[in-house]
C-alpha cells in the first residue's frame, strides 16, 4: 500500500467528508491507477481538466481562421507591417481595461497562424540570414536558438525564453535612458519612456500578448506553469519572435547590462548519470507530482539537462515544479478554484497577498 493510499485510509476512517473530497482532488490526475483499488473514484471525469479557466482558455485557444494574406502582415525584412495591423483592428486606440483591448487580443492567434505559415518554410539557416539590424535587442545567437526550439516543436519553451529575454532587453533599453527598471514586465510596458522609444503601436501589441492581465498574459501563463505544451499554440512563439525582430529594427546597437553566471557556491551535489527514457517515463507516470499530460515535458527537461542545455532544462522545469506544488497547495488548503488561472478581472494567483516583508527581506509571521 502506497503512502498516499495509507493516508487515504486514515482520512476515510475519520469519516471526514471534506477530507475525502480533498483526496479525490489530489488524485484527480491519476484516477486511472487509483480506481483499480477504489471504486469511489469512478465518478471523477474521464479526462484530466485543463488548468486554464474557461475565459483564459477561450482567449488562448481561439481557432477560427480568416483569409488575410500573409504578404500584407509582414514586411520584406520579416518585421510586422504595423499599417496592416491597424487596418485589421489589431492595433487600436484602446486602454488595457477596455473591452476592445480584450477583443483585439482574441484575434492575435488568427493572424499569428498566418505568420507561422510563412515561417514554416524557413529553415534555421535561412533565419540566420536575417539582417543583423533585426537583432539589436536580443542577439542573433539567442534568437536563432529560440527559433530552433520553435522549429523542433517546443514552442512553449521557445516563447518562455523569448519573453524572458525580451524583458531583460527592454530593461537594458530603459537603463540606457537612465530610467529605473521595474521588476514586472507588465510594469515595464506601462512606462511612458518605453512608449516614447518603441511607439504606441508596438507597445500595444506587446501588451496584448504578454502584458497586463486583461490581454493574453502569456508570459505569466507560461512561466508559472499553467499551460501545457499541448495547449500552447505554436504560432504565438513565432508571433513573439517577429515582434522582437520588429522592435529591434527600430534601434541601432544597444548596450546590454551584464548577465548573471550561476556557478557552484559551496554545493555538495552528487554526480548523476543519464537514464533510459522508458525507465524515466515509467516512474514519472506513477508519480502524483507529475501532472498527467506533462510527462513528455518532464522527459524533455531531463534530456536537455543531460545534453548540457541547462538553461533550457530549468526554464521548463521551474514552471513544472511550481504547478505541481500549486496542485498540492489547493488541495491541502481546500481552495481548488485557485488551481486555475484567474479570470482577467482578478489577479493571477502569484501575488504576495497579505505578505509583509521585513526590513531585511524575510517573512514576518506570527506563529499561532
Amino acid at each position: 500500500m502506497s503512502v498516499r493510499e495509507e493516508e487515504a485510509n486514515i482520512w476515510k476512517k475519520r469519516g471526514d467528508k471534506e477530507s475525502n473530497n480533498l483526496l479525490k482532488h489530489f488524485c484527480y490526475g491519476k484516477y486511472n491507477q487509483i480506481i483499480q483499488n477504489d471504486s469511489k473514484f469512478l465518478n471523477l471525469p474521464s479526462t484530466f481538466p485543463s488548468s486554464l479557466s474557461d475565459k483564459v482558455q477561450n482567449l488562448v485557444l481561439f481557432e477560427e481562421l480568416k483569409n488575410d494574406t500573409i504578404e500584407s502582415l509582414l514586411n520584406e525584412n520579416f518585421t510586422l507591417n504595423l499599417q496592416t495591423f491597424k487596418k485589421i483592428n489589431l492595433i487600436i486606440n484602446a486602454n488595457t481595461e477596455d473591452e476592445e483591448f480584450l477583443n483585439a487580443s482574441t484575434f492575435i492567434q488568427i493572424y499569428s497562424i498566418q505568420i507561422e505559415k510563412k515561417f514554416n518554410k524557413m529553415s534555421l539557416e535561412d533565419f540566420k540570414t536575417i539582417p543583423k539590424e533585426n537583432f539589436t535587442l536580443i542577439s542573433k545567437e539567442d534568437m536563432s536558438h529560440i527559433f530552433e526550439l520553435h522549429k523542433t516543436k517546443r514552442s512553449l519553451l521557445s516563447f518562455s525564453m523569448a519573453s524572458s529575454l525580451l524583458e531583460n532587453a527592454l530593461g537594458d533599453l530603459l537603463n540606457l535612458h537612465k530610467v529605473e527598471v521595474p521588476t514586472k514586465l507588465s510594469e515595464i510596458l506601462s512606462l511612458k519612456k518605453l512608449k516614447e522609444l518603441l511607439g504606441e503601436d508596438l507597445i500595444f501589441l506587446l501588451k496584448l500578448m504578454i502584458g497586463p492581465l486583461n490581454g493574453l498574459n502569456l508570459r505569466n501563463i507560461c512561466l508559472h506553469g499553467f499551460i501545457t505544451p499541448k495547449e500552447f499554440p505554436s504560432s504565438y512563439a513565432i508571433f513573439l519572435i517577429v515582434l522582437i525582430l520588429t522592435v529591434s529594427s527600430s534601434f541601432s546597437v544597444i548596450e546590454h547590462r551584464p548577465l548573471k553566471n550561476y556557478h557552484i557556491k559551496n554545493l555538495l551535489i552528487p554526480s548523476i548519470e543519464s537514464i533510459d527514457e522508458n525507465e524515466l517515463l515509467k516512474v514519472l507516470q506513477t508519480s502524483l507530482f507529475v501532472i498527467p499530460g506533462r510527462e513528455e515535458c518532464w522527459v524533455n527537461c531531463i534530456k536537455d539537462f543531460f545534453n548540457g542545455k541547462y538553461k533550457d532544462s530549468l526554464l521548463m522545469l521551474f514552471p513544472l515544479i511550481e504547478h505541481s506544488i500549486r496542485r498540492i497547495y489547493v488541495i491541502v488548503n481546500e481552495c481548488t478554484d485557485r488551481l486555475l488561472t484567474a479570470g482577467n478581472q482578478t489577479i493571477l494567483n502569484i501575488l504576495r497577498e497579505g505578505c509583509s516583508l521585513h526590513h531585511d527581506g524575510y517573512f514576518v509571521v506570527s506563529r499561532k
Binding site: R4, N168, I269, V283, F305, Y310, K311, N349
Partner: protein
C-alpha cells in the same frame, strides 16, 4: 510561487514535509538564496553551471519519488528504482536548508569562531620569537580571573552546526535577534581584523628593532593579553550559537555571562590607558549583544511562565 509558499495558515508544509519545504524556500523564497528561477524567468542569466542545474533536477525528481504511488517506503521499492531517482530521493530526503537565515547566521558564527582560533594560534606561535622587551607592564587586571573562570565553564560545550529542521517561517522577535547577532558578528570580525593588523605591525617593528618604547609597550600588552580577547569572544560566539538553538535551558548561564561582563566593564572604565580603551571596546561589543540576548530571554521566560500559569 510566493503565495503558495506563504507560511501563514498554509497546510502545504505539513503535507510536503520539512525537506521539500526547505528546498523550495531555498529555490524560490530566501533573499540570500540563489534566486535562479527569478533571474532565469526575467532573462538575466547567461550561464548555469552543471552543479546548479543538477541540484534542481535532484529536487524535482526527489519530489516525484516522494509522491510516487508505488512508494511504500520499503527497501525493495528503493532498490528497484533507477539510480537517478535513488540519488534524487536520497538527496531530497537529507536536504538541509542552505539559505535559511538561521543557517546563514550559524555559518557566519562558526567562521568567526574558526578565525578566532586561527588568530589565537598565530599569536601563540609568535610568542616563541625571541624578542627583548625592556618595558615594565604594570597593569592589574583582576577581571582576568573572572573571564578564565567563565571560559573554563563554557568551553566544555561543543560548537556544532544545528540541523536545518527549522520551520520555514520566523517570528518577528526571532528575526530581530538574528539581525542583532549578525551585526555583532560583523563587529567582531572587524575588531579581529583591526587587532590582527595592529599585532602584525607591532610585531614587525619589535622584531627589526625599529619599535619605539610606546610600540613595545603596546606589543607586550597585546602579546600578554590577547588570549583574553579570544576567550571573551569565544564565550560570546559560543553562547550566541547556544542561544540560536532552541534549547532554552542554556539561557540561565547566559545571564551569568552577561552580568559578569557588565561588572568587568565597570571595573575597566576607571583605567584610561590605550589597552583598557581597547578592551572596553571589546567588552562593550560583547555586552551589548548579551544585553539583547538577555532581553530576548527575559521576554521568552515571561511568556513561558505565563503559559505555565495558564
Amino acid at each position: 510561487m510566493d503565495i503558495l509558499l506563504f507560511p501563514e495558515n498554509n497546510n502545504l508544509f505539513n503535507e510536503i514535509g520539512i525537506e521539500i519545504s526547505n528546498s523550495l524556500f531555498d529555490l524560490y523564497i530566501w533573499n540570500e538564496g540563489e534566486r535562479l528561477r527569478d533571474f532565469l524567468s526575467h532573462g538575466c542569466v547567461e550561464s548555469v553551471s552543471k552543479e546548479n542545474a543538477t541540484q534542481i533536477i535532484l529536487i524535482a525528481l526527489g519530489c516525484c519519488i516522494f509522491y510516487d504511488m508505488n512508494n511504500n517506503n520499503e527497501k525493495f521499492y528503493f532498490e528497484k528504482l533507477p539510480k537517478l531517482f535513488q540519488i534524487s530521493f536520497n538527496y531530497l530526503k537529507n536536504y538541509k536548508s542552505q539559505y535559511h537565515p538561521r543557517n546563514i547566521l550559524e555559518r557566519r558564527m562558526v567562521q568567526v569562531f574558526d578565525k578566532l582560533t586561527q588568530f589565537e594560534k598565530y599569536v601563540e606561535k609568535s610568542q616563541n620569537i625571541d624578542i627583548k622587551l625592556d618595558v615594565e607592564l604594570e597593569l592589574n587586571f583582576e577581571f582576568q580571573k573572572e573571564i578564565f573562570q567563565l571560559s573554563d565553564a563554557i568551553e566544555k560545550h561543543d560548537l556544532k552546526l544545528i540541523d536545518s529542521l527549522y520551520p520555514v517561517n520566523m517570528t518577528e522577535r526571532e528575526l530581530n535577534k538574528f539581525v542583532i547577532i549578525k551585526n555583532v558578528m560583523i563587529q567582531v570580525e572587524e575588531m579581529m581584523q583591526f587587532l590582527e593588523s595592529q599585532f602584525d605591525e607591532l610585531l614587525i617593528k619589535v622584531s627589526d628593532r625599529s619599535a619605539w618604547k610606546r610600540h613595545r609597550k603596546h606589543f607586550k600588552f597585546l602579546h600578554k593579553n590577547l588570549h583574553l580577547f579570544f576567550k571573551m569572544m569565544k564565550i560570546f560566539v559560543n553562547f550566541s550559537i547556544l542561544d540560536v538553538k532552541e534549547n532554552f535551558n542554556e539561557h540561565v548561564s547566559l545571564l551569568e555571562v552577561s552580568s559578569s561582563m557588565q561588572s568587568i566593564l565597570n571595573k575597566m572604565e576607571y583605567q584610561k590607558s590605550f589597552e583598557s580603551n581597547l578592551f572596553i571596546k571589546l567588552i562593550k561589543t560583547s555586552s551589548l549583544c548579551l544585553f539583547h540576548l538577555q532581553q530576548e530571554f527575559d521576554d521568552r521566560h515571561v511568556i513561558t511562565e505565563n503559559t505555565k500559569k495558564i
